[in-house]
């Protein structure tokens, strides 16, 4: 059974047309204290999603590895005169959900609430306090530090975590991305309350923040609440840009012994920033190589044709600067050599020959046709808004996404991969038991 070509082309056309109508109406402005706000009005469900993001991820840790994550976690452990108990009670008694987390670039606090005025307004001010006025009680500091230390020691026993941590350590030696949010035991132990207060005062400030709001509010209401949600943030200074990471001059393989029947292979390079001119060419090319699940080359060859791994993929992680290109698989110890060679050879071949015309056509259909799925829920929209604001992408980033993908040619992909992905500079991490 195959579907006639004509129909696909026709419906692709329809889809491109219908997407113009789908464009998100993003409203954007700055609050009085310099927070960039992005808002999408949506009255379909009586709820509101909020995401307040700061350039306060682990890349801002300096030498105090782990501080960004500890600070982020402590936001809900006491604020002004409120105890952790008070904070949790006030949100949960109206069914609201308070969230928070951090990555290398970004740290955020999020809120999901019903939009009924009394319920919603009962949490707005407390949310503003949670983000801006943590009280850092010493018992909570000690407790959260202890939990991080335990989670850190567990990471050293979990093969996937060992592989990922070693991958970043070797790709980003000496760079702000080397150690992630989990930190290190010695630096965590050395953190003082004063360190935390200072980190928060430096980075959780208006000019370093992006507020994304989606939901059942009018523009006028959103403007008013945006001020209220951020009212306690000092204007402060924006964080300084992170310097790019350099590629190692020569590639290498790092072997880590680990008692297991199945090894993890992870390899890559520091490559891509969010605003990179090669973004679309690399994104589309990687979709073909290893970014599209079952239709990708890596999955077809390594899983479908050879049964070597359950999961195999490649992707670019676009970050503020030099985000990694990352390829990974897991295979039985006795197949490691075969799988590692194959993974590298497939990358070399892809760079040398580029993608086939049919692969490009297929990938473009998949990406552009799947666009509506990217923004089919408030949750996804608020995450995109946050990303667009945080990385200073154009407000029409989503509207122009498909056109940008469709404009990429085979030559663009080949050229971008040749310039940006150097197989002989690849850093490879193998965690397992040599057989």
């Amino acid at each position: 059974m195959s579907i006639p070509m004509k129909r696909i082309v026709l419906s692709l056309l329809l889809l491109v047309i219908s997407q113009t109508a789908l464009a998100l109406d993003i409203q954007s402005w700055d609050t009085a204290n310099g927070v960039k706000v992005l808002f999408v009005e949506s009255h379909d469900l009586p709820m509101i999603d909020v995401r307040l993001a700061f350039k306060a991820g682990s890349s801002r840790d300096g030498e105090k590895f782990g501080i960004s994550s500890l600070v982020n976690g402590l936001l809900v452990e006491g604020s002004g005169a409120h105890t952790a108990e008070n904070i949790a009670n006030q949100f949960e008694s109206v069914g609201a959900e308070l969230g928070h987390d951090s990555l290398r670039d970004m740290a955020w606090v999020s809120l999901r609430s019903l939009s009924e005025t009394t319920l919603w307004e009962s949490v707005v001010d407390l949310f503003a306090q949670v983000a801006a006025q943590p009280s850092f009680p010493q018992d909570a500091i000690d407790r959260d530090r202890q939990a991080m230390l335990i989670s850190l020691s567990n990471r050293k026993k979990e093969i996937g975590d060992v592989a990922e941590d070693a991958f970043y350590q070797n790709l980003y030696e000496g760079h702000a991305y080397e150690v992630g949010k989990h930190g290190t035991a010695s630096t965590l132990q050395a953190l003082s309350r004063q360190d935390l207060v200072k980190f928060h005062a430096d980075y959780y400030v208006g000019s370093n923040a992006t507020l994304a709001v989606v939901g059942d509010l009018t523009l006028a209401q959103a403007k008013r609440y945006a001020e209220q949600l951020t009212r306690y943030l000092k204007p402060g200074q924006p964080a300084t840009p992170i310097p790019p990471a350099l590629m190692a001059e020569h590639g290498k393989t790092v072997n880590i012994e680990f008692k297991t029947t199945q090894s993890h292979i992870m390899q890559g390079l520091p490559v891509l920033s969010r605003n990179d001119p090669d973004y679309y060419a690399l994104y589309l090319g990687n979709h073909i190589l290893g970014g599209s699940g079952f239709s990708s080359r890596l999955m077809q060859e390594i899983r479908e044709n050879r049964g070597l791994s359950y999961s195999v993929y490649s992707y670019f992680v676009p970050m503020e600067t030099s985000g990694p290109f990352q390829m990974a698989l897991q295979t039985s110890n006795n197949q490691v050599e075969q799988a590692a060679q194959l993974l590298q050879q497939m990358l070399v071949d892809f760079i040398a020959d580029g993608p086939k015309a049919s692969e490009i056509e297929h990938a473009k259909k998949n990406i552009t046709g799947g666009f509506p799925l990217k923004i089919d829920s408030n949750k996804k929209i608020v995450e995109y808004l946050s990303l667009i604001g945080f990385y200073d992408l154009a407000l029409d980033y989503l509207d122009r996404f498909n056109a940008n993908i469709l404009a990429v040619t085979a030559e663009d992909i080949k050229d971008a991969f040749k310039r940006r992905v150097k197989p002989d500079q690849i850093i490879r991490v193998i965690v397992g038991e040599p057989s």
Binding site: S18, G95, Q262, G307, Q330, P372
Partner: protein
């Protein structure tokens, strides 16, 4: 006994009660029962359509009432292996072609296997739904089993098992915990299957399983999205109604034998910190109308303990006495077979798993001896009402809920009156079920210990 709570200073009882009333009024004003239509084709296949016009996309899911709870010794994992083989070609499709066609149309597709069901799903622009239905109808009856494909795929599944279970001591602990808690019930069988059975599995095992269970009268199509229900039913009829039904013989019940005292296992694994699981035998929702009171009371009890950062476990065990660095409960009232109410967690540094167990028991005793407070009950009810609104944000999740309930033999409509049923639960109900089900003789405990000299 419990550390004094500050909550009343912030959110007084009056305010809480006002909030709850507001929530209930809001709930009544909401079109919560989004338009949902159910029909059954002549061949026995059920079609459930829920319209949601927020975005031009659709979630399409075909659910088969088959999973690890239908399996028996020697062929464990066969439902899941078969799920993998469903992508390996039909009389008219090459291996992998199913996913290629979906991808070319901008869709994503995947599948999942669990205790009571195996499901196949696509998310796609809503004007492409017909493609999904046509392809799913084809593989409901026309899968071909090729030896070469099977050999590769079963190797992939063994790698999946190594990744998901054998390299994760906690997953191994859960697997062996269930096999200890259940002796005669198929609840003891892991969904992915025992490694020995995966090594001995033959293609014919999967082919036989397909023949036995994949038929329209053992399947439900769930469609959620920007569609018109009558049009979906027309399309479903077009592609599925020509498929012949099979004789589906329901599996023997294999009830669990009565537990006659506590059971306990200890595992040593590659872990830095110990991990503790405790489980009490508990009922699930059955056709018996009376069962609803018990299972929903257990459900609310779970939220009293573990429904957020203000709940008892966070308050008393993570903060408070600082017994654990992570701890929680889990209970599923809607499984097909009776299961467990679980307590699990990682003890804090310097705290032994025994002390963590004692702390859980202390929480249980508290529930058995004192009624939960009005505030706690109001908080849980507020969360339930709000989460009913929030969950409508995801079409996929809505479809999953309908499909899971239906596959376990429930009427999916119960999700629409779930809030009312929960609201009827009282503090006395919770105390009663705490006494009835948290019986030391019905307890199974599993502990994972760090190796002394592991790398």
């Amino acid at each position: 006994m419990l550390p004094e709570s500050n909550c009343l200073k912030m959110t007084g009882f009056k305010e809480m009660k006002k909030n709850l009333i507001l929530l209930i009024i809001l709930l009544m004003a909401l079109p919560l029962q989004a338009k949902t239509v159910e029909t059954v084709l002549d061949n026995g296949m059920k079609i459930i359509v829920r319209e949601d016009h927020r975005a031009p996309v659709v979630a399409s899911q075909v659910w088969y009432r088959i999973g690890s709870n239908y399996e028996y010794d020697g062929i464990t994992g066969v439902s899941h292996v078969l799920e993998h083989m469903m992508f390996k070609g039909t009389k008219s499709l090459k291996p992998g072609e199913f996913s290629e066609i979906i991808a070319a149309n901008g869709g994503t597709d995947n599948a999942f296997t669990f205790h009571d069901f195996t499901g196949y799903h696509q998310k796609i622009a809503s004007d492409r739904l017909e493609i999904c239905l046509k392809l799913e109808a084809d593989r409901m009856r026309n899968v071909i089993f090729l030896q070469q494909e099977f050999d590769k795929e079963v190797a992939v599944v063994r790698e999946e098992r190594r990744m998901r279970v054998d390299n994760k001591p906690r997953s191994q602990l859960f697997e062996q915990f269930y096999a200890t808690a259940f002796l005669s019930s198929p609840k003891r069988i892991p969904v992915i299957g025992w490694m020995g059975d995966l090594e001995n599995m033959e293609m014919q095992d999967a082919a036989d399983w397909y023949k036995l269970w994949y038929a329209p009268n053992n399947a439900t199509l769930v469609v959620v999205g920007d569609v018109q229900s009558d049009e979906v039913i027309r399309l479903a009829k077009k592609y599925f109604s020509e498929l012949k039904p099979s004789i589906i013989k329901p599996p023997k019940l294999r009830p669990e034998i009565p537990q006659m005292g506590e059971r306990r296992i200890n595992l040593v694994g590659q872990t830095a910190s110990p991990y503790l699981i405790m489980g009490y035998k508990t009922p699930v929702l059955t056709a018996d109308k009376e069962s609803i009171k018990d299972v929903y009371a257990l459900d609310v009890l779970g939220a009293i303990l573990d429904g957020g950062n203000s709940a008892r476990i966070a308050r008393n065990m993570l903060r408070g006495d600082e017994i654990a660095v992570e701890a929680g409960t889990s209970y599923d009232p809607f499984d097909r077979l009776a299961g467990l109410f679980l307590f699990a967690g990682t003890p804090n540094k310097g705290v032994s798993p025994e002390q963590l167990e004692k702390a859980f028991i202390k929480e249980i005793k508290e529930l058995q001896t004192s009624p939960v407070s009005v505030q706690e009950l109001a908080r849980v009810k507020a969360q339930v009402i709000a989460s009913k609104v929030f969950e409508r944000d995801s079409m996929f999740y809505t479809g999953m809920q309908i499909g899971m309930l239906d596959s376990a033999g429930h009427d999916w409509r119960l999700m629409d009156h779930y809030v009312d049923d929960i609201r009827n639960i009282t503090a006395a109900d919770i105390q009663r079920v705490a006494k009835q089900y948290f019986d030391p003789d019905q307890l199974t405990v599993a502990t994972l210990w760090p190796q002394q000299d592991s790398k």
